[in-house]
């Protein structure tokens, strides 16, 4: 706990500076403005002809075209005696008036230009931020075959507009917040009012408000700060880059947090099982969707327990090996010089190295890595009697199993979990595996996501929600919103009306 407190304690003195008025002369204003921004090289100061107007701005933050077209052009040939008249000539959408220096500097950092008329006590702030960023692209990290292909990008406004385009409802609430005493980044909490639970919204709002930190650069960091418990290895909230997924979950009564500068949305509350759902499950037939989900669940078990079981059986319980496998297993083991636990750990480590190297290298080189690792080293290791070839199959299967998990963060957890389990299996055999399993079960039961149980809908048992958990029943069965979100509005739609089909006869 001490760690979090220290991290969150205010670093910068946040007391408001004395309420400075706007200086009266242009020179004073200029030096004051520059002084406050540490005489940065990108400060612009434009005197507009004879109109007596000076425009201050940070050149790197404003849109140059707009600056010339919408601000300088309309006023360059005129002369003014009051700031109010200047306002009338400008064709910029967002214009504010201010008479405080503090506010002026802040808005300059937000992409405003400051229009200053000598002698006036207030200035105009016109917002013309430059749009730095990339355009919308495919969802590459969570790609689906069936379903929308678009992903969030780093701009908060774009992201919100994407969601607004999916859910055209007046009940969609967007609450904004600013975080970071130095980065001053803005973000937004999104939820459907009337569907999402009030209490959860309050909890989330409070958790975000309580964060005192100098800077957050990505929503993944924000997520770590608002999670229920920060020491668990499991992700207690979910990150996604898919706007359709966010909308789907919003409609189920969950909350989403978008953060400026991050292309990932945080979704909460989120259960353990939901990490194994993909949007595609609901886009395909229910039978196929169920198959996918079962497949992923089996893959999860394989991935976590298979290598450990191999180690346990070879080290302690040779009795459980079937007669048909016995010869193959002992033949492949016969040349290996290490005990099974070392053998397994080595190979797992090797596989993790390959994965990490593939992820860090540029895509083209990464592919070569896979070939080098998989074929060359793999075959060589077996030929040299370094590992047994059955273990290679098992580890490859386990690795595949961890990659089918739709959530990247959960996939990471699954991969890491293997190591303690292998060690337990290597020391205590099947008892060790069972011990690890019991600990994981206890641990998962203790977790909560935004106050709701992590293992829902299995425990506490909410049998109605089982229809859309390991299996996915047809849409006509799953008309209710999950209990998990403690929603105020239970039914997604009227089940009876949804079943009716008034075909033309």
């Amino acid at each position: 706990m001490f760690f979090k407190k220290k991290l969150l304690s205010p670093i910068k003195d946040s007391q408001p500076k004395n309420q400075d008025p706007i200086p009266e002369t242009r020179e004073k204003m200029s030096s004051e403005f520059k002084a406050r921004l540490q005489n940065s090289a990108d400060i612009l100061e434009n005197e507009i002809g004879s109109s007596g107007i000076t425009i201050f701005s940070i050149g790197t933050l404003i849109d140059k075209t707009m600056f010339h077209q919408d601000i300088i052009d309309p006023i360059k040939d005129l002369s003014f005696n009051s700031i109010q008249t200047v306002m009338e000539h400008l064709s910029v959408g967002e214009i504010e008036k201010s008479n405080q220096m503090e506010m002026v500097v802040k808005s300059a950092l937000d992409g405003n230009v400051i229009i200053y008329l000598e002698g006036e006590t207030s200035v105009l702030l016109a917002k013309i931020p430059s749009r730095v960023g990339r355009s919308l692209t495919f969802a590459e990290n969570e790609s689906h075959v069936i379903g929308p292909q678009i992903a969030f990008n780093e701009s908060l406004m774009t992201n919100i507009s994407l969601i607004r385009n999916y859910i055209k409802d007046s009940d969609l609430c967007v609450e904004d917040f600013v975080i970071g005493s130095r980065t001053n980044k803005s973000g937004a909490i999104l939820y459907m009012s009337g569907i999402a639970s009030e209490q959860m919204v309050n909890t989330l709002r409070q958790r975000i408000d309580e964060i005192k930190i100098d800077g957050i650069l990505d929503s993944s960091v924000l997520m770590q700060l608002i999670e229920d418990k920060s020491l668990s290895i499991f992700p207690l909230m979910s990150l996604t880059e898919r706007p359709d997924k966010v909308c789907d979950l919003l409609l189920k009564g969950k909350l989403a947090v978008l953060f400026d500068g991050s292309s990932l949305a945080i979704i909460c509350p989120h259960t353990f099982m939901e990490f194994f759902y993909a949007m595609e499950d609901s886009n395909v037939n229910w039978q196929i969707g169920t198959f996918y989900r079962l497949l992923r669940l089996i893959a999860l078990f394989f991935s976590v327990f298979l290598t450990a079981t191999y180690v346990a059986c070879i080290t302690f319980h040779y009795e459980v090996i079937p007669q048909t496998l016995l010869l193959t297993l002992s033949e492949s083991r016969a040349r290996v010089p290490f005990p099974p636990i070392i053998e397994a750990l080595l190979l797992e480590f090797f596989l993790e190295l390959l994965r990490e190297a593939g992820a860090r290298l540029p895509t083209k080189v990464g592919q070569t890595m896979g070939i080098v690792g998989g074929i060359v080293i793999g075959t060589a290791a077996v030929d040299a009697g370094f590992t047994s070839n059955i273990l290679i199959i098992i580890i490859a299967l386990a690795a595949l199993g961890s990659f089918v998990t739709p959530s990247y963060s959960m996939g990471n957890v699954i991969r890491v979990l293997r190591f303690p389990l292998i060690i337990l299996a290597g020391f205590w055999g099947l008892y060790g595996i069972m011990y690890g399993f019991c600990f994981l079960l206890l641990h998962l039961l203790r977790q909560s996501s935004l106050g709701s149980p992590y293992l829902s809908p299995f425990y506490p048992p909410r049998f109605a929600d089982w229809k859309d958990s390991i299996i996915r029943l047809p849409l006509s069965f799953t008309y209710k919103r999950p209990d998990l979100t403690r929603t105020g509005n239970e039914n997604k739609y009227d089940p009876k009306k949804a079943k009716e089909k008034n075909d033309l006869k």
Partner: protein, 374 residues
Amino acid sequence: MKKEGWFCISLSILLLCGCAEPKILDKLGLNTTVGYDLGKNGYILGTAVELKIDPNTSKDVVIVESQSLTIRGILTNANKTTSRRLTSGQLRVIIYGEDLLTQGKTKIAQTLTSDPIISDLTYLAMTDGKARDLLNLQVEHIPDIGLHIFRFMEQNTKAKTMPSSTMQEVLHAHFTVGREPVMPIISKNGRKGVLFSGVAIFKGAKLVGKINTEQSFYLGLINDKYKSGSKDILIKSDSPKLKEGNERSHKTVAALDSIQSRKNIKLINKDKPEFNMDIKLSARLLEITSPIDIGNPQNMKLIETEIEKSMKKNIEKLIAYCQSKNSDVFGLGETYRSSVRHSNLTDEKWYKMYKNAKVNVKVDFSVIRTGLNE
């Protein structure tokens, strides 16, 4: 939150302190088959087929021998001669030499069950002669005699040619009042391999008799339920249609296949034990050596009754043989116990009655189809 930390720290300390004793597969010598013979001075001579995978040698199997007064002692003594620790966790077949079983009074199988490492599905078998000789059989096409015997027994048990004699079944019969165990006899087939040569009949743990493989089929009919299986039945008939046989041989033999059977044994007289034994079976008739028209329903009837007769005779012979050896392998005593209230049956009581027990055998056979031709 702190709890996880404490938990992990304690667990790692625990792991550092204590580790179970490893039994790594490739460091062990796995006994797949063992044979027990009677040695000198009451010693038991053990022969074990050890599976030993070594990449440097071409042979995977080593035969280990040792002797001791106890069964467990054999393994301990055998360890003195091997480079890998011998274990019985993968034991599949146990073969007893005939001399050990004729002596009786061995508690070999019971001793084995109290060791959790030995599976209840281990096959037990007897060999006429020495188990040691059987396991030392060197045949080119059998690289691993242990595995060969296991596969051989598994195949034959599944096909119901051989009575199933897993440890559980043998002990089950052994511990039931009024039922005795049987074991298949496996013998050397010259220098060619192994052969199922008969069934050993016990009383308690003592070998009292043997029946041949022909009769073993009828034993199966009484004790078991056939769901599939095949059998050649010799028909000795007075009917002219079936008398001939063919040019090759003058015996009439019917080949049956897909045999399905059900039995029902009922006690009808308490005081002088008398049982009704109804055996119903149906089969596919694939071949008959007589030139008889099997498309004719009357002929079919004839064949059926003749087969019934032949079977009945064989079954009666088998029962008479077992009665003469005073061994109740059919579980008649168990039937007696379960149908007579407060009988307090013990083996002693039962064997006084068993010798004179009367069994009325009735066989009901029907041909269900005759393959593709009629």
